[in-house]
């Protein structure tokens, strides 16, 4: 397979990563289309984070091929870095800097002009309703606000693709819903979103999902396709059938 001529945002072919004798990601092959919200589902330790790390250039693959925004992950990692945004499980914000300073810092890192930084800072502050706390240290913000801010900062340089690694873990359902509104806004604006989660209800919000089990992609498709194919009523059920087939008959819920 060669670099995607059809403009796939992400394409992998047999992408693999081993740590010693442990295979964290085992020959995964998938495409993500531009503007799509693509969900990566899996239990903890299924290889989601390792996969994201290879695609963002934090980790070199052991074998296989991958292109991100049309760039080869082995040879063009610098070009990839300019085209992507990333929000990790832990925040990428500095607790001792203010909201405004955090935004300015990342604006500088991504080489935005002074005017761009100023405009986008105001846009983020008013969109998130943070204008009155712009001069507060980020450490003082509630978790949900920090996460929304971290997401906006990951989008600050208007990347073509944004990677979100379990962005909503640990926040309440209402904040999660607000967070997903932000994700949709970004997707509508043309940004491709790759998001990992272990909340099955969030999977329903994605255009397409892939379910990872022990480093492999066990299923891939739109939520409705997956439910139809495995004759399940929810993604939760699909997931349990894939991960714990022995429980499937009883219709148990995810661990």
């Amino acid at each position: 397979m060669t670099a995607p001529a059809d403009g796939a945002a992400i394409r992998t072919n047999g992408l693999t990563r081993t740590f010693g004798r442990f295979t964290a990601v085992d020959h995964i092959t998938f495409d993500v289309r531009p503007g799509e919200v693509f969900g990566f589902l899996g239990a903890n330790g299924a290889g989601k984070t390792t996969a994201i790390r290879m695609l963002t250039g934090l980790l070199t693959p052991s074998s296989g091929e991958a292109w991100v925004a049309g760039h080869d992950v082995y040879r063009e990692s610098e070009a990839i870095k300019r085209d992507i945004g990333y929000m990790s499980q832990r925040f990428s914000l500095y607790d001792d800097l203010t909201v405004r300073e955090n935004i300015q810092l990342y604006g500088g890192i991504y080489d935005l002009s002074r005017d761009q930084i100023r405009d986008r800072t105001e846009r983020i502050l008013s969109r998130l309703g943070l204008s009155h706390t712009a001069h507060d240290a980020v450490g003082a913000l509630p978790l949900g606000w920090k996460q929304k801010l971290a997401f906006s900062v990951a989008l600050l340089h208007e990347p073509r693709i944004v990677f979100l690694d379990e962005p909503t873990s640990g926040v309440d359902p209402i904040t999660r819903r607000q967070f997903w509104e932000l994700i949709y806004e970004a997707a509508h604006a043309g940004t491709t979103v790759l998001v990992t989660t272990h909340y099955m209800d969030e999977a329903e919000y994605c255009d397409r999902i892939s379910i990872m089990v022990s480093g492999r992609i066990a299923a891939i498709g739109s939520p409705s396709e997956l439910k139809r194919d495995s004759e399940a009523s929810s993604i939760d059920e699909v997931f349990v059938r894939l991960v714990r087939p022995e429980l499937a008959g009883r219709g148990g819920s995810a661990a």
Binding site: G57, Q89, F91, L97, G108, I109, S113, R114, I117
Partner: protein, 367 residues
């Protein structure tokens, strides 16, 4: 707005906003100089002295009185032979021995040079050398007092150290203290601030950004270079003002060598942080790997010559050893690069090797 400038500003904010750490960083050099300065300079008091006087006469009695009256020495015994000395030193009963040559008074009266032997217990070299200085001072005072009355009096004191005969005579603490403070600031603080970013996850954000590894490193460590430089000035200032430590050579050269040493320490800090992932481990590693050798093996407190051979070899790879040599040379002997080029070269080579090794190990971490 340049990315590097943004990083530098961010790091400066981190430092300035962590008030407690900043306070420690600023006051530590000053407190250290004070502590070391006073604990070393007040050590010489109530020194137990034994006197060997084979031929007591008015002259030797007068000198003995001076020692007994000065307040610094306590004469614990007078003997006519040197025979008890060995036992007295070994049992730590005596710390200094003053040995008059036979017919001391007669030689002096005849206008010949009279011989006087001073033996000090130099197990602790700094105290040992201070005691010798005090003995010399008493004798010189006597000489000049007598000289005014009855012409030139020549006493030739010979100085000998027991247990540790080749101790450094210019063993002042300020150069070693600079190495110490710089190691704490540059190596320890750098290692901590880098591992903190790993712990909080912000390091990942920097790594997926288009920033180059060298930009991340420079952005992280440059502010500490600045703080290190300021603390060198603080140590030198306090040493000069409070303790009148001399500055015989070029201050500019010393500051340049100091900067070189800061770079070494910064690289060590980066190396430590590249191999550790939590602040706690980084702290321990920096203590064991950089501070302890600086304190113990640099010749700062314990003279290298009196260490066991294997430790002397180990001390060769301790950067602080070379910096202490250089700083002592410049401050106390007033020598320049003509004499210190070899030490400087060693330090520069260490800087180069460590900088390359640390940037490389950091890079490996990214991939």
């Amino acid at each position: 707005m340049s990315a590097l400038y943004g990083l530098l500003r961010k790091e400066t904010y981190h430092i300035l906003r962590d008030r407690r750490t900043l306070g420690v960083l600023i006051f530590m050099p000053i407190v250290q100089v004070m502590l070391f300065g006073f604990s070393i300079s007040t050590d010489v008091r109530d020194v137990r002295m034994v006197i060997v006087d084979p031929t007591p006469d008015a002259t030797t009695l007068a000198i003995r009185d001076r020692f007994a009256a000065g307040g610094i020495f306590r004469v614990i015994g007078v003997s006519q032979t040197e025979q008890p000395l060995d036992r007295l030193f070994r049992t730590d009963t005596a710390q200094v021995a003053l040995i008059f040559e036979p017919a001391f008074g007669r030689h002096l009266a005849a206008g010949d040079a009279a011989q006087l032997l001073v033996i000090t217990d130099a197990t602790e070299p700094n105290t040992g050398s201070s005691r010798q200085l005090y003995v010399n001072a008493v004798i010189q005072q006597y000489e000049s007092d007598m000289g005014k009355r009855s012409g030139a009096v020549r006493i030739t004191p010979q100085v000998r150290s027991r247990f540790n005969p080749t101790r450094e005579s210019t063993n002042l603490f300020v150069p070693g203290l600079m190495a110490m403070v710089l190691t704490i600031i540059a190596a320890l603080m750098t290692a901590l601030s880098l591992t903190r970013e790993k712990e909080t996850g912000t390091m990942e954000a920097l790594l997926v950004s288009p920033l180059r590894p060298w930009q991340i490193i420079v952005g992280k460590v440059a502010p500490y270079l600045g703080i290190g430089f300021v603390s060198v000035l603080a140590v030198l200032g306090v040493a000069k003002i409070v303790f009148h430590v001399p500055m015989q050579g070029s201050l500019a050269l010393l500051l340049a060598e100091g900067t070189l040493f800061i770079l070494v320490a910064l690289s060590l800090g980066i190396l430590v942080s590249a191999r550790t992932s939590s602040q706690r481990v980084a702290m321990l590693a920096a203590m064991m790997g950089t501070m302890l050798p600086t304190q113990m093996l640099s010749g700062f407190i314990f003279p290298i010559e009196s260490m066991p051979r294997p430790l002397q070899w180990v001390s060769i790879i301790v950067p602080a050893r070379w910096f202490v040599l250089i700083a002592r040379g410049i401050m106390l002997k007033g020598i320049g690069l003509t004499y210190l080029w070899r030490e400087t070269l060693v330090l520069a080579a260490m800087t180069l090797v460590l900088l390359v090794a640390s940037t490389r190990s950091f890079k490996v971490r990214l991939q």
